[in-house]
Structure formats: structure tokens, C-alpha cells
């Protein structure tokens, strides 16, 4: 299954999203939380994200969900660190964090391909709640 990495400026948010998405997903789905800084403060940490990507990859690629635009820079730098390993295997979804993660988790659980999981995450942009 495609793995997921949850990036947030807040460690609690990342863990919470992981918990919620995990509840709806296959128990074997790898969802790795990468939120906050090593000292527990708010922010996004490139090295942490890099480690998370490796942890989440079971061979079928990884989709990264981010909370705020500024997390994209950290995620992109993490991708650069991966170098060739990440090539074509790891993508950042342009999607809302919670809804994108849930949608991606369900799609990955039913065996969706990397492209399908990204599409599922990004489809969350269009869905109205009310």
C-alpha cells in the first residue's frame, strides 16, 4: 500500500490526523506523523520529515500531506535529501490536511496506486461540508 506522511507545524495535530485517518484505514497502512520541532515547539522539521518518508515507504511510494504552505518548503527539502530514492515515488499532495489524509488513507487501504491516492487527497479540495 502507498504510505502516508502527515506534516504539521504541530506535533499534536500530526498525531491526531494520523489517529483519525488510521481509524478508517487498513491496519497495515503506514501513516507516519511528522509534526512540530524536535524540542516540541511549533514548526516543521526537514530531517524529521525525511525520516518519516523512509519509514512510510513499503515499496509503493509515499504521499505527504501538509498543513500550511510553509510546510511545503520543509517537505520539498526532505525530498531533495532523498535524492534518487524519492524519484517518482514520493509526492506532496496539494490538499487540506485532515480531509486529504482521510481520503488518501481510505484510497490507499483499498490498494489505490500512488496516482489514485494523490487524486483522492486532492479531491478533498472540492468537497463542501455544509
Amino acid at each position: 500500500m502507498v504510505g502516508l506522511v502527515i506534516v504539521s507545524h504541530s506535533a499534536k495535530i500530526a498525531l491526531g490526523v494520523k489517529e483519525l485517518a488510521g481509524q478508517m484505514a487498513d491496519s497495515k497502512l503506514l501513516i507516519v506523523a511528522a509534526g512540530g520541532m524536535p524540542d516540541g515547539s511549533l514548526g516543521t522539521d526537514t530531517l524529521r520529515i525525511h525520516e518519516a518518508i523512509i519509514e512510510a515507504n513499503s515499496g509503493q511510494g509515499v504521499v505527504i500531506l501538509v498543513d500550511l504552505g510553509s510546510a511545503v518548503l520543509s517537505a520539498r527539502t526532505a525530498l531533495e535529501l532523498l535524492g534518487q530514492e524519492g524519484d517518482g515515488q514520493v509526492y506532496i499532495a496539494d490538499a487540506p490536511l485532515v480531509e486529504g489524509a482521510i481520503s488518501a488513507a481510505v484510497e490507499a487501504s483499498i490498494g489505490g496506486s500512488l496516482a489514485e491516492v494523490i487524486a483522492a487527497a486532492e479531491a478533498a479540495r472540492e468537497i463542501l461540508k455544509l
Binding site: L20, Q23, M24, A25, E99, I102, S103, A105, V106, S109, I110, A120, A123, A124, I127, L128, K129
Partner: protein
């Protein structure tokens, strides 16, 4: 096309986990599956759309399936609801 009207009898209705289960079951079939409830409709294969119906316990839900495996699909989904999403 086949259709069935059911009532949600499980405690939490179509919340996160049950919505995900329903989506996963619907995804196994080739048929196009829609849900109708609370004056809204949802593509059953989109977990976010299913959750946006906001259906709770006791709510009426109409399920439609259209495609080569529509009969089996409808049975699978109505069974899931009838079994309270195996929640309790």
C-alpha cells in the same frame, strides 16, 4: 439500476469509521454507487462525500447501484448497514 432504502441502526450513524467501511465495500464493485440522505447525495466511493451526508442513527438512506455487478453491490452494502457496520 437497483435501489434500496435502509435505516441506519448503528449507534454512531455514518461517521468516520462506518463511512470508510462503506466506501471500501462500494469500491470493490464496478458499479456506480450513490447514496441519498438528508436531502443530499453522495458518490459512495468518496469517503468525504459519504461523511458530508452527516447521517446519524435512525436516518434513512437510499442506496443506488448501477452496473454489471449492481445486485451483488447492493446486497453487500445493505448487509453492512443491517449489521450495524460490525460496530457493536
Amino acid at each position: 439500476m437497483v435501489e434500496a432504502k435502509v435505516f441506519l441502526t448503528n449507534k454512531l450513524g455514518l461517521h468516520a469509521r462506518s463511512a470508510a467501511m462503506l466506501t471500501k465495500v462500494a469500491a470493490k464493485f464496478d458499479s456506480v454507487v450513490h447514496l441519498y440522505g438528508a436531502s443530499k447525495s453522495a458518490n459512495a466511493k468518496s469517503v468525504l462525500m459519504v461523511m458530508s451526508l452527516g447521517l446519524s442513527k435512525g436516518a434513512a438512506l437510499t442506496i443506488t447501484a448501477h452496473g454489471p455487478d449492481e445486485a451483488a453491490c447492493l446486497v453487500a452494502l445493505t448487509d453492512l448497514v443491517a449489521n450495524n457496520f460490525y460496530e457493536e
